[in-house]
Amino acid sequence: MSLILNSVISLGAMGLLFGSGLAYASKKFAVEVDPRVEAINEALPGANCGGCGYPGCGGLSNAIVAGEAPVNGCPVGGAETTAKIAEIMGQTAQEGEKTVAKVICNGTCNNAKEKSEYYGINDCRAAALVSGGSKSCQYGCLGLGTCVNVCQFGAITIKDGIANIDKDKCVSCGKCLEVCPKSVIDWVPYSQEVVVECNSEEFGKDVKSKCAVGCIGCGMCAKACPFGAITMEGKLAKIDYTKCTQCMVCTAKCPTKAISGELSKRKKAVIEEDKCVGCTICAKKCPVEAIEGELKQKHSVIEDKCIGCGECAKKCPKDAIKMK
């Protein structure tokens, strides 16, 4: 009995002694940590996904306080987290548009021809080692779901043999871009509908023989684009998203339907008559001459001609044009 008592009391006393010593030391050697670090750490999602480029949420919060990272440094948290952090840092949230990952390939089972059957490990990286995968196009999505497995946020699904990314679920962590052996995933602004969904750098003839929707590098989109947003890089059309107004002229022109965008969803300019003063600025700015009207008279939009680029709405001094 006394053995147990001795053990408990002696160890307890030692614990108490060392504990109080440490308590004293912690007061004596207290280091002032910036309270904002703690607060930002609280506000961050705590997933430690590394999407921000720092080892974890703790690293990012330190960097934000040190001024090395922007308040919107966390791609996962979204606007809410950014707002909270900005408040802690005493700034107003400057929120840029989110950039999301997108699969730049439309080579579904129907569109892209298979060149062989693959019976290996169900992983794109393994399949890519076997003479570049089973698809006849060596640039396309293999659709075995390596990106699906690496996505922590459940944003990727495999449909019709290619990967699809749900842009609402995508948090821009970039893990799928890293893991894709074909580098067929790219960054695209969230609202961007018009995207060249092809990654093939082969000659048009070869592309055509392998995939029904590949970019054959004909350059028709580049010529058709009223805003000069499309350039031909090698044998592939490239859209400059900062210049693109999503007018979908290229989508309509593309002979192989390699550029995405739904024409039916395209917006139209609508002039609010009570605000229009008839200055004709919009008519001058319209790249397709879809606005008619005399000086000092109410203008109107010719619906069939309007491509919904929004240039007129941007330039109207009276805010009389709405995109609907």
Binding site: L3, L11, F18, G19, L22, S26, F29
Partner: protein, 190 residues
């Protein structure tokens, strides 16, 4: 004379890292830069010397009079853990850069077998207080010597043309084993 022999023995002959293979974790983890290796060595030296002393008192003035020697391990861990906490606070206050560089390895001294090892070896060898402190300090100096030498070699290894598959830890482990063989040469010195 005997004290000198204990010191030489614990630093060179029975080097904790290279002969007894204790404390390998910080030895491999914090040996990328000489600077942090020195810092780690200092921290371990402080903890080891003090732990040797305090565990001596705990053993002979608490555990043995009460006849509860079986609690040796747990009591010693209590001492070491408290000391490590203390060291952590001091380093955070004195040198935040070193604190950053040591990272997770600082709290890991708590579970460092080398510290517990030296405390138990002291008791097993029936050392008196002076011998205990000398042995503890010697072991810590031996650890520091090994880790600093190793860090120096690894800094050079960074620049060496190491085959791809040996880069990083493989070559570090091979280096460590070669160092251990070199230290084997001290056998029989004491």
């Amino acid at each position: 004379m005997e004290i000198f022999l204990i010191l030489v023995s614990s630093i060179l002959v029975n080097n904790f890292v290279l002969s007894r293979f204790l404390g390998i974790c910080p030895f491999l983890g914090v040996s990328k830069k000489v600077e942090t290796a020195v810092g780690m060595g200092m921290a371990v030296t402080f903890v080891m010397t003090l732990a040797s002393m305090i565990t001596y008192f705990v053993q002979y003035y608490v555990l043995e009079p009460l006849g509860i020697q079986f609690l040796q391990t747990i009591a010693f861990i209590l001492v070491i853990a408290s000391l490590v906490q203390f060291v952590e606070m001091v380093i955070q206050k004195m040198s935040p850069t070193l604190y950053q560089a040591l990272g997770v390895f600082l709290p890991l001294i708590t579970t460092n077998c080398a510290v517990l090892g030296v405390a138990i070896i002291n008791i097993d060898s029936n050392y008196n207080l002076i011998q205990t402190i000398v042995n503890g300090m010697g072991a810590a100096i031996g650890f520091t010597l090994a880790i600093v030498l190793f860090a120096g070699i690894r800094e050079r290894l960074e620049l060496a043309d190491v085959p791809e598959s040996f880069k990083g830890f493989p070559i570090a482990l091979i280096t460590a084993s070669l160092m251990a063989i070199a230290f084997l040469g001290f056998t029989g010195l004491v």
